[in-house]
């Protein structure tokens, strides 16, 4: 299954260093938070894309292997990215959400990360609506139901929660600190 990304770099058949050279070039043209998929057949790309992401501060999401093709997913980060203030007043901790998920109550978790982030691990049955698409997809959410908004670190979900409240949704909770520190079960695509 194809994961929706903002940019695909096809480096199939190219040897090292070309997969990383092309990834770096494409990354420069992306905005912070956008996701790139690198397609490569060079096995060396598996370790190198992670090492490169580490050294540049970009967020490595994961690798899928299909036959002899590796698909690597990286999300653009800026090292000087300013952490926005958490302005939404209603938050629940990861642990509380985990407890609720293990209980009997029907609850709706909305994961506002990018599809590639979601694909490499999300809360069971979470609905994936990336922050950038939220405004267009409000129809998928039931007004008045309890909605738990989650992202990687609580930032994007904070923005999403504020947006939803503006649009008249009630019972919204921002889950903190988010998937980056989630200890409960995860599902993968």
């Amino acid at each position: 299954m194809d994961i929706k990304v903002d940019r695909v770099v096809d480096a199939q058949g190219l040897a090292c260093p070309m997969p990383i050279v092309r990834t770096k070039k494409a990354m420069n043209e992306l905005n912070t938070g956008q996701v790139l998929e690198l397609q490569a057949t060079d096995k060396g790309s598996v370790a190198d894309i992670q090492a490169w992401a580490n050294s540049t501060g970009h967020q490595f999401l994961g690798t899928k292997q299909e036959g002899h093709v590796y698909r690597h997913y990286v999300r653009k980060s800026e090292p000087d990215e300013v952490k926005e203030e958490m302005t939404f007043p209603h938050t629940v901790h990861n642990d509380e959400l985990e407890r609720l998920l293990n209980g009997n109550t029907e609850i709706r978790v909305v994961d506002v990360r990018e599809p590639a982030e979601y694909a490499f691990g999300h809360v069971k049955n979470a609905l994936n609506i990336p922050l950038g698409e939220l405004e267009q997809r409000l129809g998928e959410l039931i007004p008045g139901s309890e909605l738990y908004i989650i992202c990687r670190t609580g930032n994007r979900s904070n923005l999403a929660a504020n947006l939803l409240e503006e649009k008249g949704f009630k019972n919204i909770k921002n889950v903190v600190p988010g998937m980056s520190q989630w200890n409960g079960d995860v599902e993968r695509d």
């Binding site: 090292c16 260093p17 990383i20 060396g44 090492a51 490169w52």
Partner: protein
Amino acid sequence: MSEETKPTTITRMTPHELTQIVAGHEELFILDVRNETEFNDWKIEGEKIEIINIPYFDLLDGIEPALEQIPDHKRLLVVCAKEGSSQFIGEQIAEAGRENVYYLEGGMKLWSEHLEPVKIGDLMSGGEVYQFVRIGKGCLSYMVVSDGEAVVIDSARMIQPYLDFAQARDVQIKHVLDTHLHADHISGGRELSNVTGAAYWLPPKDADEVTYPYNELVENGDIRIGTGNVNVHPIYTPGHTIGSTSFLIDDQYLLTGDILFIASIGRPDLAGKAEDWVSDLRNSLYELYGGLPEHLIVLPAHFGKVNELDVQGKVWAKLGDLFSTNPGLNIKDETDFRKTVTENLPPQPNAYQEIRQTNMGKINPDEEEQREMEIGPNRCAVHDN
């Protein structure tokens, strides 16, 4: 200009040429552009080799960080995993005005597979002994040649060099022997015997779980080469594995496998029986080897550091000399010996369990997987090199 078609302004260095530099203790400055993890696991070593690591992807914005660290007057070799990145970075360094810039042909992949044959010496009854030095991994294998016939001992996974060597000397490989079931590299013994029709011999005590037919190496079951004057005499010397067998050849050469090295001794833990085999190991080294003539030339299956190579690139020592210089042969107290060979051992070789399974014939990884399993140093000795 397209990114793939820059003119080559640098010189290729072959693994053979690099071997000459390492063995000849020549000076060389190496810029290794692999990622940090790969570099820390395993790199090119040499007495007068200076090496630094800057991953190629940290030099994509400019090679200045590398230029600052590279001395002007030395030969520079750029190295990567396969060769592409070393050419890419090397060319930019040359374009920046540096001279004497080389890249390693085939990168660390080819370096880890390169076998360099060197002559050890003649046999009294006619013939020669050759050592095949796998310098990138520290593995040593042997070919004994006499009267148009040859025996290969502890064959590396890559069998072509033995075939080429035998063909060039017009000799037929008749027997293929392994001193033990290897845990650090995949034996080419079975394939070599399949290709040449040679008999494949293994120590039966290491071959319990082996899935293919083989001949049993037994003490006093001598293997004769050529007209029969040269014989390979197996001596049962357990300790690294329970079947470990040494070979006395022509009453001159003692092939010690992974029991005795030049600067260290074999570790007893790679088949999972460290505690059980300590006394076997001690007995093999101190009693069995201790009872052999001092003039014997010891030829091990590994070296640790490249300073164990002599100027011609050979690894050898007189048995009598090792009893005074090798720390593993000079531990008087049994308890101390037990501690040395069971505690604080170096990390185990990469994928050693899978390598053993492959050597038993239980799993059949493809060539790329086999290559991957063999990455890194051999680590068969108790002393960390």
